[in-house]
Protein backbone atom coordinates (compact mmCIF):
# COMPACT_ATOMS: atom_id res chain seq x y z
CA UNK A 1 0.00 0.00 0.00
CA UNK A 2 1.46 3.28 -1.04
CA UNK A 3 -1.06 5.92 -0.12
CA UNK A 4 -0.01 7.31 3.17
CA UNK A 5 -2.15 8.67 5.90
CA UNK A 6 -3.03 11.13 7.27
CA UNK A 7 -3.48 13.53 4.38
CA UNK A 8 -0.68 15.87 3.49
CA UNK A 9 -1.41 19.38 2.21
CA UNK A 10 -2.35 19.55 -1.44
CA UNK A 11 1.01 19.36 -3.11
CA UNK A 12 0.12 17.20 -6.05
CA UNK A 13 -3.24 18.42 -7.25
CA UNK A 14 -5.15 15.53 -8.68
CA UNK A 15 -6.86 16.58 -11.77
CA UNK A 16 -5.61 14.16 -14.30
CA UNK A 17 -9.16 13.12 -14.93
CA UNK A 18 -8.94 16.06 -17.16
CA UNK A 19 -6.65 14.21 -19.52
CA UNK A 20 -8.48 10.95 -19.41
CA UNK A 21 -10.29 10.43 -22.61
CA UNK A 22 -13.45 8.64 -21.91
CA UNK A 23 -16.36 9.88 -23.85
CA UNK A 24 -19.22 8.02 -22.38
CA UNK A 25 -22.18 9.93 -23.60
CA UNK A 26 -23.88 9.90 -26.89
CA UNK A 27 -26.92 11.95 -27.63
CA UNK A 28 -30.08 9.90 -28.11
CA UNK A 29 -29.83 10.01 -31.90
CA UNK A 30 -28.77 6.47 -32.59
CA UNK A 31 -26.38 5.38 -35.27
CA UNK A 32 -28.89 2.84 -36.51
CA UNK A 33 -28.31 3.22 -40.20
CA UNK A 34 -24.56 3.42 -40.25
CA UNK A 35 -23.71 2.52 -43.79
CA UNK A 36 -19.98 2.51 -43.45
CA UNK A 37 -18.30 -0.03 -45.59
CA UNK A 38 -14.83 -0.57 -46.79
CA UNK A 39 -12.72 -0.44 -49.86
CA UNK A 40 -10.62 -2.29 -50.87
CA UNK A 41 -11.31 -5.97 -50.43
CA UNK A 42 -11.78 -7.65 -47.09
CA UNK A 43 -8.97 -9.18 -45.01
CA UNK A 44 -6.47 -6.74 -46.38
CA UNK A 45 -3.90 -5.56 -43.88
CA UNK A 46 -2.56 -2.03 -43.65
CA UNK A 47 0.48 -0.61 -41.92
CA UNK A 48 -0.88 2.47 -40.21
CA UNK A 49 1.80 4.89 -38.97
CA UNK A 50 1.08 6.57 -35.66
CA UNK A 51 2.70 9.07 -33.34
CA UNK A 52 2.75 8.96 -29.59
CA UNK A 53 1.85 12.35 -28.17
CA UNK A 54 3.59 13.80 -25.11
CA UNK A 55 0.43 12.92 -23.21
CA UNK A 56 0.77 9.26 -24.21
CA UNK A 57 -2.04 9.25 -26.70
CA UNK A 58 -1.79 7.23 -29.88
CA UNK A 59 -2.37 9.53 -32.77
CA UNK A 60 -3.13 8.68 -36.39
CA UNK A 61 -3.74 10.99 -39.30
CA UNK A 62 -6.74 10.85 -41.58
CA UNK A 63 -8.33 12.80 -44.41
CA UNK A 64 -12.04 13.40 -44.46
CA UNK A 65 -13.57 13.96 -47.89
CA UNK A 66 -10.04 14.59 -49.15
CA UNK A 67 -9.41 17.32 -46.57
CA UNK A 68 -6.92 17.37 -43.78
CA UNK A 69 -4.87 15.70 -42.51
CA UNK A 70 -6.72 15.53 -39.22
CA UNK A 71 -5.03 14.22 -36.08
CA UNK A 72 -7.12 11.65 -34.25
CA UNK A 73 -6.52 9.73 -31.06
CA UNK A 74 -7.11 5.98 -31.23
CA UNK A 75 -9.68 5.72 -28.50
CA UNK A 76 -11.49 2.54 -27.50
CA UNK A 77 -13.04 4.79 -24.86
CA UNK A 78 -15.00 6.67 -27.53
CA UNK A 79 -18.03 5.15 -29.22
CA UNK A 80 -17.64 6.90 -32.55
CA UNK A 81 -15.56 9.31 -34.60
CA UNK A 82 -15.34 12.73 -32.97
CA UNK A 83 -14.19 15.72 -35.00
CA UNK A 84 -13.70 18.93 -33.06
CA UNK A 85 -15.99 21.75 -34.14
CA UNK A 86 -13.05 24.03 -34.76
CA UNK A 87 -11.18 21.54 -36.95
CA UNK A 88 -14.31 20.65 -38.90
CA UNK A 89 -14.94 24.32 -39.58
CA UNK A 90 -11.36 24.99 -40.55
CA UNK A 91 -11.53 22.28 -43.20
CA UNK A 92 -15.01 23.20 -44.37
CA UNK A 93 -16.79 20.13 -43.03
CA UNK A 94 -20.37 20.75 -42.08
CA UNK A 95 -21.93 19.62 -38.86
CA UNK A 96 -25.25 17.96 -39.53
CA UNK A 97 -28.41 17.71 -37.48
CA UNK A 98 -27.82 17.75 -33.72
CA UNK A 99 -24.09 17.56 -34.25
CA UNK A 100 -24.17 14.32 -36.26
CA UNK A 101 -22.55 14.27 -39.66
CA UNK A 102 -22.03 11.64 -42.27
CA UNK A 103 -18.74 11.89 -44.15
CA UNK A 104 -18.43 10.42 -47.62
CA UNK A 105 -14.91 9.25 -47.19
CA UNK A 106 -12.50 8.70 -44.35
CA UNK A 107 -8.95 7.84 -45.45
CA UNK A 108 -6.59 6.76 -42.73
CA UNK A 109 -2.87 7.20 -43.27
CA UNK A 110 -1.39 3.89 -44.34
CA UNK A 111 -4.35 2.88 -46.49
CA UNK A 112 -7.61 2.03 -44.68
CA UNK A 113 -10.62 3.74 -46.29
CA UNK A 114 -14.18 3.90 -44.95
CA UNK A 115 -17.13 5.38 -46.76
CA UNK A 116 -20.32 6.82 -45.33
CA UNK A 117 -18.89 7.34 -41.87
CA UNK A 118 -21.09 8.83 -39.19
CA UNK A 119 -19.35 11.19 -36.85
CA UNK A 120 -19.98 13.64 -34.07
CA UNK A 121 -18.87 17.15 -34.79
CA UNK A 122 -18.21 18.46 -31.31
CA UNK A 123 -15.25 19.19 -29.11
CA UNK A 124 -14.90 17.00 -26.05
CA UNK A 125 -13.47 19.13 -23.25
CA UNK A 126 -10.48 16.81 -22.96
CA UNK A 127 -9.45 17.69 -26.52
CA UNK A 128 -9.99 21.43 -26.21
CA UNK A 129 -8.26 21.39 -22.82
CA UNK A 130 -5.19 19.59 -24.01
CA UNK A 131 -4.95 21.78 -27.10
CA UNK A 132 -5.35 24.95 -25.09
CA UNK A 133 -2.40 23.98 -22.93
CA UNK A 134 -0.36 22.53 -25.76
CA UNK A 135 0.13 19.39 -23.71
CA UNK A 136 0.20 16.73 -26.42
CA UNK A 137 2.88 18.57 -28.41
CA UNK A 138 0.73 18.25 -31.50
CA UNK A 139 -2.71 19.59 -32.38
CA UNK A 140 -5.57 17.16 -31.72
CA UNK A 141 -8.62 17.18 -33.98
CA UNK A 142 -10.67 14.51 -32.28
CA UNK A 143 -10.87 10.79 -31.67
CA UNK A 144 -11.35 7.64 -33.68
CA UNK A 145 -13.66 5.42 -31.70
CA UNK A 146 -15.64 2.25 -32.08
CA UNK A 147 -17.55 2.93 -35.29
CA UNK A 148 -14.24 3.16 -37.14
CA UNK A 149 -12.03 0.83 -35.10
CA UNK A 150 -14.50 -2.06 -35.04
CA UNK A 151 -14.12 -2.59 -38.80
CA UNK A 152 -10.54 -3.72 -38.24
CA UNK A 153 -8.54 -6.09 -36.14
CA UNK A 154 -6.04 -3.63 -34.72
CA UNK A 155 -2.59 -4.57 -33.59
CA UNK A 156 -0.70 -1.98 -31.53
CA UNK A 157 2.92 -2.45 -30.53
CA UNK A 158 4.66 0.65 -29.19
CA UNK A 159 8.07 -0.77 -30.09
CA UNK A 160 7.08 -0.60 -33.77
CA UNK A 161 6.41 2.54 -35.83
CA UNK A 162 3.23 1.17 -37.44
CA UNK A 163 0.01 -0.40 -36.24
CA UNK A 164 -1.39 -3.25 -38.29
CA UNK A 165 -5.04 -2.83 -39.26
CA UNK A 166 -6.75 -5.84 -40.82
CA UNK A 167 -10.23 -5.46 -42.25
CA UNK A 168 -12.80 -7.72 -40.62
CA UNK A 169 -15.65 -8.61 -42.99
CA UNK A 170 -18.53 -7.82 -40.67
CA UNK A 171 -20.93 -5.03 -39.98
CA UNK A 172 -20.36 -3.81 -36.44
CA UNK A 173 -23.62 -3.08 -34.60
CA UNK A 174 -24.22 0.59 -33.95
CA UNK A 175 -23.54 2.08 -30.53
CA UNK A 176 -26.45 3.25 -28.45
CA UNK A 177 -26.51 6.48 -26.55
CA UNK A 178 -26.56 6.10 -22.82
CA UNK A 179 -27.48 9.54 -21.64
CA UNK A 180 -30.61 9.35 -19.55
CA UNK A 181 -32.35 12.48 -20.71
CA UNK A 182 -30.25 13.62 -23.62
CA UNK A 183 -28.15 15.74 -21.33
CA UNK A 184 -24.73 15.25 -19.89
CA UNK A 185 -24.92 14.37 -16.21
CA UNK A 186 -24.15 17.20 -13.83
CA UNK A 187 -20.79 15.77 -12.71
CA UNK A 188 -19.47 15.73 -16.25
CA UNK A 189 -20.61 19.28 -16.86
CA UNK A 190 -18.75 20.25 -13.68
CA UNK A 191 -15.64 18.52 -14.94
CA UNK A 192 -15.84 20.28 -18.27
CA UNK A 193 -16.30 23.67 -16.69
CA UNK A 194 -13.40 23.14 -14.34
CA UNK A 195 -11.24 22.14 -17.24
CA UNK A 196 -12.09 25.39 -18.99
CA UNK A 197 -11.37 27.41 -15.90
CA UNK A 198 -8.00 25.76 -15.41
CA UNK A 199 -6.93 26.59 -18.91
CA UNK A 200 -7.08 30.26 -18.10
CA UNK A 201 -4.45 29.88 -15.41
CA UNK A 202 -1.94 27.74 -17.19
CA UNK A 203 0.44 29.13 -19.69
CA UNK A 204 0.26 27.42 -23.02
CA UNK A 205 3.18 25.16 -23.71
CA UNK A 206 4.90 26.23 -26.90
CA UNK A 207 4.79 23.81 -29.81
CA UNK A 208 7.89 21.63 -29.95
CA UNK A 209 10.59 22.40 -32.46
CA UNK A 210 11.81 19.58 -34.67
CA UNK A 211 15.52 19.34 -35.33
CA UNK A 212 16.60 17.08 -38.18
CA UNK A 213 20.02 15.49 -37.96
CA UNK A 214 22.45 16.62 -40.60
CA UNK A 215 24.03 14.38 -43.18
CA UNK A 216 27.54 13.16 -44.05
CA UNK A 217 26.89 10.98 -47.08
CA UNK A 218 28.55 7.77 -45.91
CA UNK A 219 27.42 4.16 -45.86
CA UNK A 220 28.57 2.51 -42.67
CA UNK A 221 29.00 -0.98 -41.37
CA UNK A 222 29.44 -2.29 -37.87
CA UNK A 223 31.79 -5.26 -38.12
CA UNK A 224 31.81 -5.87 -34.40
CA UNK A 225 35.25 -4.29 -34.11
CA UNK A 226 34.15 -0.76 -34.87
CA UNK A 227 32.36 1.40 -37.41
CA UNK A 228 33.79 1.25 -40.91
CA UNK A 229 32.99 3.43 -43.91
CA UNK A 230 31.75 1.21 -46.75
CA UNK A 231 31.18 3.95 -49.25
CA UNK A 232 31.57 7.71 -49.51
CA UNK A 233 29.05 9.32 -51.84
CA UNK A 234 30.80 11.52 -54.42
CA UNK A 235 30.64 15.25 -53.70
CA UNK A 236 28.96 14.56 -50.35
CA UNK A 237 30.05 16.42 -47.17
CA UNK A 238 32.11 13.35 -46.21
CA UNK A 239 33.86 13.29 -49.60
CA UNK A 240 34.67 17.00 -49.36
CA UNK A 241 36.15 16.46 -45.89
CA UNK A 242 38.41 13.74 -47.24
CA UNK A 243 36.75 10.69 -45.69
CA UNK A 244 37.64 7.49 -47.52
CA UNK A 245 36.20 4.05 -47.97
CA UNK A 246 37.73 1.68 -45.41
CA UNK A 247 38.25 4.41 -42.78
CA UNK A 248 37.26 3.30 -39.30
CA UNK A 249 35.51 6.01 -37.30
CA UNK A 250 37.03 6.06 -33.81
CA UNK A 251 35.76 9.37 -32.44
CA UNK A 252 32.83 11.69 -33.08
CA UNK A 253 33.14 15.15 -31.53
CA UNK A 254 36.04 13.78 -29.43
CA UNK A 255 33.84 11.03 -27.99
CA UNK A 256 34.89 7.42 -28.62
CA UNK A 257 32.85 5.37 -31.07
CA UNK A 258 32.89 1.60 -30.80
CA UNK A 259 29.58 0.72 -32.44
CA UNK A 260 26.99 2.08 -34.82
CA UNK A 261 24.71 2.64 -31.82
CA UNK A 262 27.39 4.93 -30.30
CA UNK A 263 27.74 6.81 -33.53
CA UNK A 264 24.02 7.35 -34.02
CA UNK A 265 23.56 8.46 -30.41
CA UNK A 266 26.30 11.06 -30.90
CA UNK A 267 24.84 12.09 -34.25
CA UNK A 268 21.50 12.70 -32.54
CA UNK A 269 23.15 14.62 -29.73
CA UNK A 270 24.90 16.90 -32.24
CA UNK A 271 22.02 16.81 -34.72
CA UNK A 272 22.12 20.47 -35.74
CA UNK A 273 25.90 20.93 -35.80
CA UNK A 274 27.17 22.37 -39.05
CA UNK A 275 30.74 21.37 -38.44
CA UNK A 276 31.79 18.12 -36.83
CA UNK A 277 35.11 16.73 -35.73
CA UNK A 278 35.44 13.09 -36.76
CA UNK A 279 38.49 11.00 -36.03
CA UNK A 280 39.22 8.07 -38.30
CA UNK A 281 41.77 5.30 -38.37
CA UNK A 282 43.16 4.87 -41.86
CA UNK A 283 45.61 2.02 -42.28
CA UNK A 284 46.63 2.20 -38.62
CA UNK A 285 47.02 5.96 -38.56
CA UNK A 286 44.62 8.21 -36.68
CA UNK A 287 43.55 11.45 -38.24
CA UNK A 288 41.03 14.08 -37.28
CA UNK A 289 38.80 15.40 -40.04
CA UNK A 290 36.61 18.43 -39.91
CA UNK A 291 33.34 17.86 -41.77
CA UNK A 292 30.94 20.57 -42.91
CA UNK A 293 27.68 18.62 -42.56
CA UNK A 294 24.95 18.83 -45.16
CA UNK A 295 21.21 19.00 -44.94
CA UNK A 296 19.11 16.06 -46.03
CA UNK A 297 18.62 12.40 -45.32
Amino acid sequence: MVLDHPPRPARRPCWRWFLTLLVALLPPAALAEDKSHIKPAAEKSFRVPYQLTDTKHILVRARINGKGPFHFIIDTGAPTLFVSTESAKKHGLEAGKEGWSEFEKLEIEGGPVLEGVKARVETPFQVSGMNAMGLPGIRLDGMLGYTVLAHYRIELDLTKPHMIWTRIPWQPPAPQGISENGQAPAEIAVMGNMAKLLQMFIQKRPAPVFVQRRMLGVELSDSGSGVTILRVLPSSPAALAGMKEGDRITHFQEKPVTSLADLHALAAEHAAKEELSIQVNRGGKEQVLSVKTGRGL
Binding site: P49, G77, L135, W170, L297
Partner: protein
Amino acid sequence: MNSFAAFCLLVVVPAQAEPAPAAPPRPQVAKATTVPMEVLRSKHIAVQIKVNGKGPYRVIFDTGSPVTLLSNRIAEETGLISKDQAKTPALFGARGMGTAKTLQVGDIVVEDAPVMIMDHPALKAAGRVLGQLDGIVGFPFFCRYKSTFDYEAQTISFVPVEYRGVGMDMMQMVLVMMNDRSGKPLQKVQSPTTLWGFRVERAEGDPDAGVVVKEVLPESPAARADLKVGDRLLELDGTWTESVEDTYRAAAGVPAGQAAKMKIRRGMDEISITIVPKSGL
Protein backbone atom coordinates in the same frame (compact mmCIF):
# COMPACT_ATOMS: atom_id res chain seq x y z
CA MET B 1 -0.84 36.31 -9.82
CA ASN B 2 1.34 33.27 -9.56
CA SER B 3 -0.45 30.76 -11.69
CA PHE B 4 0.75 27.85 -9.63
CA ALA B 5 -0.84 29.28 -6.54
CA ALA B 6 -3.99 29.94 -8.47
CA PHE B 7 -3.99 26.39 -9.66
CA CYS B 8 -3.65 25.05 -6.14
CA LEU B 9 -6.43 27.31 -4.96
CA LEU B 10 -8.68 26.11 -7.69
CA VAL B 11 -8.14 22.47 -7.08
CA VAL B 12 -8.52 21.99 -3.40
CA VAL B 13 -7.99 18.31 -3.38
CA PRO B 14 -6.27 16.59 -0.51
CA ALA B 15 -3.56 14.76 -2.37
CA GLN B 16 -2.17 12.31 0.09
CA ALA B 17 -0.72 10.07 -2.53
CA GLU B 18 2.91 9.13 -2.27
CA PRO B 19 4.36 9.21 -5.77
CA ALA B 20 5.09 5.69 -6.87
CA PRO B 21 8.71 4.67 -7.33
CA ALA B 22 9.14 4.38 -11.06
CA ALA B 23 9.35 0.60 -11.18
CA PRO B 24 7.85 -0.42 -14.50
CA PRO B 25 5.33 -3.25 -14.33
CA ARG B 26 6.85 -6.47 -15.57
CA PRO B 27 4.84 -8.71 -17.83
CA GLN B 28 4.61 -12.14 -16.27
CA VAL B 29 3.73 -14.02 -19.42
CA ALA B 30 5.91 -14.74 -22.39
CA LYS B 31 3.37 -15.70 -25.04
CA ALA B 32 0.09 -14.37 -26.40
CA THR B 33 -2.67 -14.25 -23.82
CA THR B 34 -6.21 -13.63 -24.94
CA VAL B 35 -8.54 -11.69 -22.70
CA PRO B 36 -12.28 -11.61 -23.32
CA MET B 37 -13.73 -8.16 -23.75
CA GLU B 38 -17.30 -7.20 -23.09
CA VAL B 39 -18.51 -4.80 -25.74
CA LEU B 40 -21.01 -2.63 -23.90
CA ARG B 41 -24.20 -1.32 -25.43
CA SER B 42 -22.46 2.04 -25.75
CA LYS B 43 -19.59 0.18 -27.50
CA HIS B 44 -17.08 0.89 -24.86
CA ILE B 45 -14.95 -2.10 -23.94
CA ALA B 46 -15.16 -3.61 -20.47
CA VAL B 47 -12.74 -6.15 -19.02
CA GLN B 48 -12.51 -7.97 -15.69
CA ILE B 49 -9.56 -7.15 -13.48
CA LYS B 50 -8.24 -8.14 -10.08
CA VAL B 51 -6.26 -5.75 -7.91
CA ASN B 52 -3.95 -7.09 -5.19
CA GLY B 53 -5.67 -10.45 -5.62
CA LYS B 54 -9.16 -9.04 -4.97
CA GLY B 55 -11.97 -8.86 -7.46
CA PRO B 56 -13.02 -9.39 -10.16
CA TYR B 57 -13.96 -5.82 -10.97
CA ARG B 58 -15.46 -4.58 -14.19
CA VAL B 59 -13.54 -1.69 -15.76
CA ILE B 60 -13.28 0.11 -19.09
CA PHE B 61 -10.34 -0.67 -21.38
CA ASP B 62 -9.41 2.66 -22.91
CA THR B 63 -6.54 3.23 -25.36
CA GLY B 64 -7.36 6.94 -25.05
CA SER B 65 -6.51 7.01 -21.36
CA PRO B 66 -2.95 7.87 -20.36
CA VAL B 67 -3.57 6.49 -16.87
CA THR B 68 -5.00 3.41 -15.22
CA LEU B 69 -7.70 4.54 -12.87
CA LEU B 70 -9.50 2.82 -9.97
CA SER B 71 -12.55 3.90 -8.03
CA ASN B 72 -12.45 4.61 -4.32
CA ARG B 73 -14.51 1.44 -3.79
CA ILE B 74 -11.81 -0.77 -5.36
CA ALA B 75 -9.00 1.22 -3.78
CA GLU B 76 -10.49 0.68 -0.34
CA GLU B 77 -11.32 -3.00 -0.84
CA THR B 78 -7.85 -3.76 -2.12
CA GLY B 79 -6.05 -1.83 0.60
CA LEU B 80 -4.76 1.01 -1.57
CA ILE B 81 -6.45 3.52 0.71
CA SER B 82 -7.88 3.21 4.21
CA LYS B 83 -11.58 3.39 5.10
CA ASP B 84 -11.01 6.83 6.60
CA GLN B 85 -9.27 8.07 3.51
CA ALA B 86 -12.11 6.83 1.37
CA LYS B 87 -14.52 8.89 3.45
CA THR B 88 -12.53 12.14 3.31
CA PRO B 89 -14.38 14.49 0.98
CA ALA B 90 -12.52 15.26 -2.22
CA LEU B 91 -13.56 16.53 -5.57
CA PHE B 92 -14.38 13.47 -7.68
CA GLY B 93 -12.94 11.41 -4.84
CA ALA B 94 -9.50 12.10 -6.24
CA ARG B 95 -6.80 10.52 -4.08
CA GLY B 96 -3.79 10.89 -6.34
CA MET B 97 -1.54 8.13 -7.56
CA GLY B 98 -0.94 4.78 -5.95
CA THR B 99 0.73 1.53 -6.82
CA ALA B 100 -1.15 -1.74 -7.06
CA LYS B 101 1.12 -4.60 -5.99
CA THR B 102 -0.61 -6.69 -8.63
CA LEU B 103 -2.99 -5.76 -11.39
CA GLN B 104 -4.50 -8.72 -13.17
CA VAL B 105 -6.28 -8.35 -16.51
CA GLY B 106 -7.63 -11.72 -17.63
CA ASP B 107 -4.73 -14.10 -17.05
CA ILE B 108 -2.08 -11.40 -17.18
CA VAL B 109 -0.61 -10.15 -13.94
CA VAL B 110 1.53 -7.04 -13.76
CA GLU B 111 3.35 -6.05 -10.59
CA ASP B 112 3.71 -2.57 -9.14
CA ALA B 113 1.19 -1.04 -11.51
CA PRO B 114 0.81 2.73 -11.21
CA VAL B 115 -2.84 3.60 -10.71
CA MET B 116 -4.74 6.79 -10.20
CA ILE B 117 -7.50 6.71 -7.61
CA MET B 118 -10.65 8.71 -8.23
CA ASP B 119 -14.32 8.35 -9.02
CA HIS B 120 -14.49 9.41 -12.64
CA PRO B 121 -17.85 11.07 -13.25
CA ALA B 122 -18.13 9.57 -16.73
CA LEU B 123 -17.78 6.10 -15.23
CA LYS B 124 -20.42 6.85 -12.65
CA ALA B 125 -22.79 8.14 -15.28
CA ALA B 126 -22.13 5.23 -17.64
CA GLY B 127 -22.41 2.78 -14.76
CA ARG B 128 -25.94 3.90 -14.01
CA VAL B 129 -26.99 2.61 -17.42
CA LEU B 130 -24.45 -0.11 -18.17
CA GLY B 131 -23.92 -1.66 -14.77
CA GLN B 132 -21.18 -0.87 -12.32
CA LEU B 133 -17.87 0.24 -13.79
CA ASP B 134 -15.02 0.70 -11.35
CA GLY B 135 -12.12 2.03 -13.31
CA ILE B 136 -10.18 2.37 -16.52
CA VAL B 137 -7.27 0.32 -17.76
CA GLY B 138 -5.08 2.61 -19.84
CA PHE B 139 -1.65 3.27 -21.28
CA PRO B 140 0.58 2.13 -18.38
CA PHE B 141 -0.88 -1.36 -18.84
CA PHE B 142 -1.19 -1.80 -22.58
CA CYS B 143 2.11 -0.13 -23.49
CA ARG B 144 3.88 -3.28 -22.23
CA TYR B 145 2.24 -5.48 -24.84
CA LYS B 146 1.59 -5.90 -28.47
CA SER B 147 -2.18 -5.59 -28.05
CA THR B 148 -4.60 -6.84 -30.68
CA PHE B 149 -8.18 -5.63 -30.53
CA ASP B 150 -10.90 -7.64 -32.26
CA TYR B 151 -14.41 -6.34 -31.71
CA GLU B 152 -16.01 -9.15 -33.70
CA ALA B 153 -14.31 -11.91 -31.72
CA GLN B 154 -14.68 -9.76 -28.59
CA THR B 155 -11.14 -10.39 -27.51
CA ILE B 156 -7.94 -8.48 -26.83
CA SER B 157 -4.74 -10.46 -27.04
CA PHE B 158 -1.47 -9.45 -25.49
CA VAL B 159 2.11 -10.41 -26.25
CA PRO B 160 4.76 -8.87 -23.98
CA VAL B 161 7.18 -6.44 -25.65
CA GLU B 162 10.17 -4.55 -24.33
CA TYR B 163 8.69 -1.08 -24.25
CA ARG B 164 10.57 1.24 -21.95
CA GLY B 165 9.18 4.58 -22.94
CA VAL B 166 6.78 5.48 -20.17
CA GLY B 167 8.96 8.28 -18.85
CA MET B 168 7.55 11.39 -17.30
CA ASP B 169 3.93 11.26 -16.32
CA MET B 170 1.59 14.04 -17.18
CA MET B 171 1.29 15.37 -13.70
CA GLN B 172 5.03 15.92 -13.63
CA MET B 173 4.82 17.47 -17.05
CA VAL B 174 2.22 19.98 -15.96
CA LEU B 175 4.18 20.87 -12.85
CA VAL B 176 7.32 21.38 -14.91
CA MET B 177 5.36 23.54 -17.32
CA MET B 178 4.00 25.70 -14.58
CA ASN B 179 7.34 26.15 -12.90
CA ASP B 180 9.24 26.69 -16.12
CA ARG B 181 8.64 30.31 -17.00
CA SER B 182 11.09 30.32 -19.90
CA GLY B 183 8.42 29.32 -22.38
CA LYS B 184 11.11 27.60 -24.39
CA PRO B 185 9.79 25.03 -26.78
CA LEU B 186 10.84 21.44 -26.41
CA GLN B 187 13.33 20.29 -29.03
CA LYS B 188 12.60 17.00 -30.72
CA VAL B 189 15.52 15.53 -32.59
CA GLN B 190 14.79 13.43 -35.64
CA SER B 191 17.77 11.25 -36.33
CA PRO B 192 17.19 8.34 -38.71
CA THR B 193 20.08 5.87 -38.73
CA THR B 194 19.99 5.38 -42.48
CA LEU B 195 21.46 7.09 -45.52
CA TRP B 196 19.03 8.00 -48.30
CA GLY B 197 20.81 10.72 -50.26
CA PHE B 198 18.09 13.29 -50.83
CA ARG B 199 16.85 16.54 -49.39
CA VAL B 200 13.28 17.85 -49.37
CA GLU B 201 11.69 21.18 -48.55
CA ARG B 202 8.25 22.58 -48.23
CA ALA B 203 7.64 26.24 -48.97
CA GLU B 204 5.53 28.28 -46.58
CA GLY B 205 1.92 28.33 -47.79
CA ASP B 206 2.48 25.68 -50.47
CA PRO B 207 -1.08 24.75 -51.48
CA ASP B 208 -0.18 21.34 -52.90
CA ALA B 209 0.35 18.06 -51.10
CA GLY B 210 3.81 16.70 -50.38
CA VAL B 211 7.37 18.00 -50.10
CA VAL B 212 9.63 18.98 -53.00
CA VAL B 213 12.90 17.15 -53.68
CA LYS B 214 15.66 19.77 -53.78
CA GLU B 215 18.74 17.61 -54.01
CA VAL B 216 19.69 14.02 -54.88
CA LEU B 217 23.24 12.86 -54.16
CA PRO B 218 24.86 10.88 -56.99
CA GLU B 219 25.21 7.11 -56.42
CA SER B 220 22.98 7.36 -53.32
CA PRO B 221 19.99 5.09 -52.65
CA ALA B 222 17.77 7.96 -53.88
CA ALA B 223 19.76 8.24 -57.12
CA ARG B 224 19.56 4.49 -57.66
CA ALA B 225 15.80 4.63 -57.09
CA ASP B 226 15.69 7.28 -59.83
CA LEU B 227 14.38 10.04 -57.58
CA LYS B 228 14.80 13.41 -59.32
CA VAL B 229 15.17 17.00 -58.21
CA GLY B 230 11.77 18.68 -58.62
CA ASP B 231 9.79 15.53 -57.80
CA ARG B 232 7.07 16.04 -55.27
CA LEU B 233 7.26 13.34 -52.60
CA LEU B 234 3.71 12.48 -51.50
CA GLU B 235 4.29 9.34 -49.45
CA LEU B 236 7.26 7.52 -48.03
CA ASP B 237 6.63 3.99 -46.81
CA GLY B 238 2.90 4.70 -46.54
CA THR B 239 3.38 7.87 -44.47
CA TRP B 240 2.00 11.13 -45.88
CA THR B 241 4.93 13.48 -46.33
CA GLU B 242 3.24 16.80 -45.72
CA SER B 243 6.34 18.30 -44.12
CA VAL B 244 10.05 17.78 -43.65
CA GLU B 245 9.26 16.34 -40.18
CA ASP B 246 6.92 13.78 -41.72
CA THR B 247 9.65 12.75 -44.14
CA TYR B 248 12.21 12.17 -41.38
CA ARG B 249 9.67 10.35 -39.22
CA ALA B 250 8.81 8.05 -42.10
CA ALA B 251 12.50 7.49 -42.88
CA ALA B 252 13.21 6.63 -39.26
CA GLY B 253 10.67 3.81 -39.51
CA VAL B 254 12.46 2.03 -42.36
CA PRO B 255 15.39 -0.20 -41.33
CA ALA B 256 18.58 -0.22 -43.43
CA GLY B 257 18.37 -2.63 -46.35
CA GLN B 258 14.57 -2.75 -46.39
CA ALA B 259 12.77 -1.61 -49.52
CA ALA B 260 10.29 1.24 -49.12
CA LYS B 261 7.83 2.70 -51.60
CA MET B 262 7.92 6.36 -52.50
CA LYS B 263 4.84 7.87 -54.07
CA ILE B 264 5.88 10.88 -56.10
CA ARG B 265 4.32 13.38 -58.45
CA ARG B 266 6.56 14.16 -61.42
CA GLY B 267 5.00 16.74 -63.70
CA MET B 268 1.47 15.49 -64.28
CA ASP B 269 2.22 11.86 -63.40
CA GLU B 270 1.88 10.12 -60.09
CA ILE B 271 4.38 7.30 -59.89
CA SER B 272 5.66 4.85 -57.35
CA ILE B 273 9.35 4.04 -56.97
CA THR B 274 11.23 1.74 -54.63
CA ILE B 275 14.13 2.90 -52.51
CA VAL B 276 16.44 0.86 -50.28
CA PRO B 277 18.13 3.01 -47.63
CA LYS B 278 21.59 2.00 -46.41
CA SER B 279 23.01 1.92 -42.94
CA GLY B 280 24.80 5.24 -42.72
CA LEU B 281 24.68 8.93 -42.01
